[in-house]
């Protein structure tokens, strides 16, 4: 319960009304994920694999660090502040901006964290909302595990 309160406080601090698509900078976050994990002719990416749905789901769980929630949105805010036109940039411009962002310690840490959560969304059990139709596993010829999860987060919190 305490964590929920903290989470809400964090989001209020960020100036949001609810934890969903109404978040400020959530579009920056989504756009960044879609750039890091594009859908190509060979590979399903962030959009096709439901990364944003995944993040929304796992971030609500008590096992997700509240510091990470803050860090992820704070990074998106900083990117938006530094590059207000990021959302309308074409992919080559976005690439240039993100590579520049990577040159700072904080920017690199934020991007590596997004890559990590993107890989969780792509390669984790589909029960969490990502890895839609196991396409993430299929991207790389990974054999689905047996047994797969019947409830998210094990028995205890399922």
């Amino acid at each position: 319960m305490k964590r929920r309160v903290f989470l809400l406080a964090t989001l209020v601090l960020l100036g949001v009304k609810s934890f969903g698509s109404g978040l400020p900078n959530h579009r920056v976050l989504v756009a960044t994920l879609e750039h890091l994990f594009p859908t190509t002719s060979r590979f399903a990416g962030a959009k096709a694999l439901g990364f944003w749905g995944y993040l929304q789901f796992v971030m609500r769980h008590p096992s997700f660090s509240s510091e990470d929630v803050h860090f992820v949105f704070e990074g998106a805010k900083r990117l938006a502040d530094e590059y207000p036109l990021f959302l309308i940039y074409a992919p080559p411009q976005k690439e240039m901006v993100l590579r520049r962002f990577e040159e700072t310690l904080e920017g690199q840490e934020w991007l590596s964290r997004l890559l990590y959560y993107g890989l969780e969304a792509m390669l984790g059990d589909p029960i969490y909302g990502g890895n839609t139709k196991m396409q993430g596993w299929r991207n790389f010829g990974h054999t689905p595990p047996k047994p797969m999860a019947k409830t998210p987060f094990g028995k205890a919190c399922g």
């Binding site: 890091l36 590979f43 890559l115 890989l119 595990p145 047996k146 047994p147 999860a149 094990g154």
Partner: protein
């Protein structure tokens, strides 16, 4: 018919004023006591702080079991304070996590099950290799011949698969054959054997606590490719839950109370009179009386429980008038080296075979340069796609993403595998590694948390690095590339022992050779706490064997 643990409301109806044995902790230290005593007709209650997971509750969910702390307490509620180089670090705000598998069956649910016997010299480290400055090395209160019959018992009851090979540092066996044949081997094992042979190293088949044929209550291994860190979905892994507690429940003499967080042991007239605990399901504080109390909560938490259990007779903690409780905590020395195998080293199709085990160990350096050395365990990475992928996101200190990342991951998943060589050497007992109470910090139940001093004796790293030199020769001969890893002074939090060492002198040990407290007549400790030195092996097999040994003693006196 299996008697399942009672539900919370049934627990209220349990009217057993005094049970024969109360066991605190349900892992490798508690399981054998529960198994043997309940089968001997004694009434046994196990208090376990975590949940009861049925076999069907387990899955190969990488996020749940390896990326989130779902089977350990929330560190915002229950934590440890780490003392390192004079600074205190509460684990609420660090990467340290000294909880391991807090569910029924304990961390044995999540082990890899490398089941090596201690060598006879491990019982006489002081006599064999002598003193080392700054280390509190002593011989054990028992020798190999005292424990060997119980290694046999574990191999039979818990189930150990393997094959005996004559080698200089293989301990003697009464029965040459293992009760279960070895697990199926990955094709790479033959390459490892032949390369090792060319440089004069002998590889041995690793005994595993994994069934290779069905038994009435458990199924053989199905080679899921997700083993260590995961609960077993066939029952093949020799966890305390599968091998001991489930059969013990069939006797009708065992009651397991999950979600029971023990607060304190209450002493009266030199004996533990009762235990108090929080029933987390009911949010009630409850007590339980028993003739004998067996503590098996893993080394750090066992010491903490005793230290928190003060009374007028034991103002410094239960069984601690000697001041020895929490001293000489042990972890494991060594570290890990990893390298990449590709089609340059072997046929790609064979390399990419999934699920089968390498199961090879090198024991040639168990003693080295007239000093105690250690072992090198070889294994291929498990499937774990998230871990595999995340370790691939860097290239020349820049992040990979987009098509470049996809191409890298495709190669990583289809063209290469990482071989791990894990070095285990002794973690010497010394005055800088111990458990005490952090009286300034309390858990969510209001009890002081354990303060854990984690300093490593310099000799641990010295031997680890010596072994790493041999390991590198082997890796180079094998032709592996992209070698990473290190020998580290940091303790592996999943390999805990010591803290309540056994011995014949009550002034310098907590337990006698039967693992009974010198100072408290009905108190036993049967997790790894009893070990005065740990050997250079994973501890679980020896904890199981010793617990079976203590169970024989308890059967005789109860």
């Amino acid at each position: 018919m299996v008697t399942l643990p009672p539900n919370p409301w049934q627990r209220l109806l349990l009217a057993k004023p005094v049970v024969d044995v109360c066991i605190i902790g349900s892992g490798a230290g508690g399981g054998p006591i529960a198994y043997e005593l309940s089968r001997a007709g004694k009434k046994v209650v196990v208090l376990e702080k975590g949940e009861y997971y049925k076999r069907s509750d387990f899955s190969k969910d990488e996020i749940a079991y390896t990326k989130r702390s779902i089977i350990t307490p929330s560190r915002s509620k229950e934590f440890h304070t780490i003392l390192q180089e004079g600074q205190e670090y509460p684990t609420t705000h660090t990467h340290w996590n000294f909880w391991n598998g807090n569910i029924v069956g304990g961390s044995s649910n999540f082990m890899s099950g490398f089941f090596h016997r201690l060598h006879p010299d491990d019982f006489r480290l002081y006599s064999k290799f002598g003193a080392i400055e700054g280390a509190n090395i002593v011989d054990w209160a028992i020798d190999y011949s005292d424990l060997a019959p119980y290694y046999d018992t574990v191999e039979r009851i818990v189930g150990v698969s393997g094959v005996y090979q004559n080698a200089p540092f293989e301990p003697p066996r009464q029965h040459p054959h293992f009760p279960y044949p070895p697990t199926q081997e990955h094709p790479i094992a033959h390459l490892i054997d032949s390369v090792a042979h060319t440089i004069g190293i002998q590889t041995l088949v690793t005994p595993r606590a994994i069934l290779t044929h069905d038994t009435p209550m458990r199924n053989k291994c199905y080679y899921s490719n997700y083993c260590g860190s995961y609960g077993c979905s066939s029952g093949a892994k020799g966890s305390a839950l599968e091998a001991l507690l489930n059969p013990a429940l069939q006797t009708g003499n065992l009651t397991i109370i999950p979600n029971a967080h023990v607060l304190k042991l209450h002493e009266q007239k030199g004996k533990v009179a009762y235990v108090s605990y929080i029933d987390k399901d009911l949010n009630l504080k409850r007590t339980l009386k028993a003739k004998v109390f067996v503590v098996a909560a893993q080394a750090i938490e066992s010491a903490r429980l005793l230290l928190n259990s003060t009374s007028s007779n034991f103002p410094n903690g239960l069984a601690n008038n000697s001041g020895q409780v929490g001293k000489n905590l042990l972890f494991s020395g060594g570290g890990t080296l990893e390298g990449t195998l590709t089609q340059k080293q072997c046929d790609l199709k064979q390399l990419m075979v999934e699920g089968l085990f390498v199961n090879r160990v090198i024991k040639d350096f168990y003693a080295i340069d007239n000093q105690k050395g250690g072992i090198m365990e070889l294994h291929l990475e498990h499937a774990n796609p998230i871990r595999k992928a995340y370790k691939s996101i860097w290239h020349d200190n820049k992040l990979l993403w987009g098509e470049a990342l996809y191409d890298r991951l495709y190669r990583r998943f289809n063209d290469e595998k990482r071989l791990t060589l894990e070095i285990f050497n002794d973690w010497l007992p010394h005055d800088g590694c111990y458990v005490t109470l952090d009286t300034k910090r309390h858990d969510c139940y209001g009890m002081p948390v354990a303060k854990v001093a984690i300093a490593s004796h310099p000799h641990n790293e010295k031997i680890g690095n010596r072994l790493a030199l041999e390991a590198m020769k082997f890796f180079k001969a094998l032709g592996v590339t992209q070698i990473e890893g290190a020998i580290t002074p940091n303790p592996p939090s999943n390999l805990q022992a010591g803290g309540c060492r056994f011995g014949n002198d009550p002034k310098s040990s907590v337990l006698n050779k039967e693992c009974k407290s010198h100072e408290v007549d009905n108190l036993y400790i049967t997790d790894g706490s009893f070990m005065p030195t740990g050997g250079s092996l994973p501890y679980t097999f020896s904890i199981y064997a010793n617990s079976f040994r203590v169970a024989q003693h308890l059967k005789a006196i109860l």
